[in-house]
Symmetry: C2
Subunit: 161 residues, 2 copies
């Protein structure tokens, strides 16, 4: 395996062009582009994305957002936690452990993590030590949340309905 | 076009078997199956899903959930709204307008609607009169919400960050 490292992605035209190769390109990316063009954010400011470059080619990324304890419906006791989303490795670069590297990076913050994976990736998340939550309609709707619990943290008790 | 109608789906073993054909099969469906097996829900009780049968074959479905105004971050004035999710037509039955029928059915409640479509379906939602929201990181994270506004309802103002 080539020596690779995880970098905080900077908001600039190159990053936003790189993002177009990822399937989960949506209004978040369009909004970042808009903010850059309208000088609402400075060039090279930090984005909520982390990525892996192969040479100067962005080949994997994820977004991490730290959500405040007051919005925590998943963990016991309620606490700040990370929402991990848009984890994606470009197709030609899969099978090199880049996805695992990104998830392990997220775990290093030692905060509980919540993600809402695509349907067919439960094997991956279970291998990474995540577990499916107990489904709650009001909270989860169409999501399939998987959570990772650092030591001392449990899944939140389900509210009675 | 064959005469088709939209039905509220009942929770029973046939419905839950039919659900396995849909890509967005996840913990919600597993939880419904579990509740049925453990007699937590009665056989043939109402589900949050609506569907279209072709003969006795379920070929399209969506889930609708009425969320209370106190959780409304999307509309102005804040009000009860519908979350539409897991809209899906089985591949062999696409191109017959079943998706449109289901969305039009949802609109008949005359409540604002929020959905979080798959990446490549923005054309469909725009054709159905939905619009992309202004992206807000804290609220939307990895989602790409599209909303439908009945008369007199506007998109919520963005909170300043």
């Amino acid at each position: 395996m080539m020596d690779v490292k995880i970098e905080r992605l900077l908001i600039n035209y190159k990053t936003l062009e790189d993002f177009k190769q990822f399937q989960a390109y949506g209004i978040q990316e369009l909004s970042m582009l808009d903010d850059l063009q309208n000088e609402i954010v400075e060039n090279d400011s930090e984005s909520p994305f982390y990525g892996i470059y192969y040479g100067d080619h962005l080949v994997a990324r994820m977004s991490l957002y730290r959500r405040s304890a007051k919005y925590d419906d998943y963990f016991n006791p309620p606490q700040d936690y990370l929402v991990l989303f848009k984890l994606e490795v470009l197709e030609d670069y899969r099978g090199n452990g880049y996805g695992e590297m990104l998830v392990n990076f997220a775990k290093e913050f030692q905060l509980p993590i919540k993600t809402n994976p695509y349907m067919d990736s439960s094997d991956f998340w279970e291998k990474m030590g995540f577990e499916a939550v107990s489904y709650n309609m009001e909270r989860d709707l169409g999501e399939n949340p998987y959570i990772w619990l650092p030591p001392g943290v449990k899944e939140a008790l389900q509210p009675s309905e």
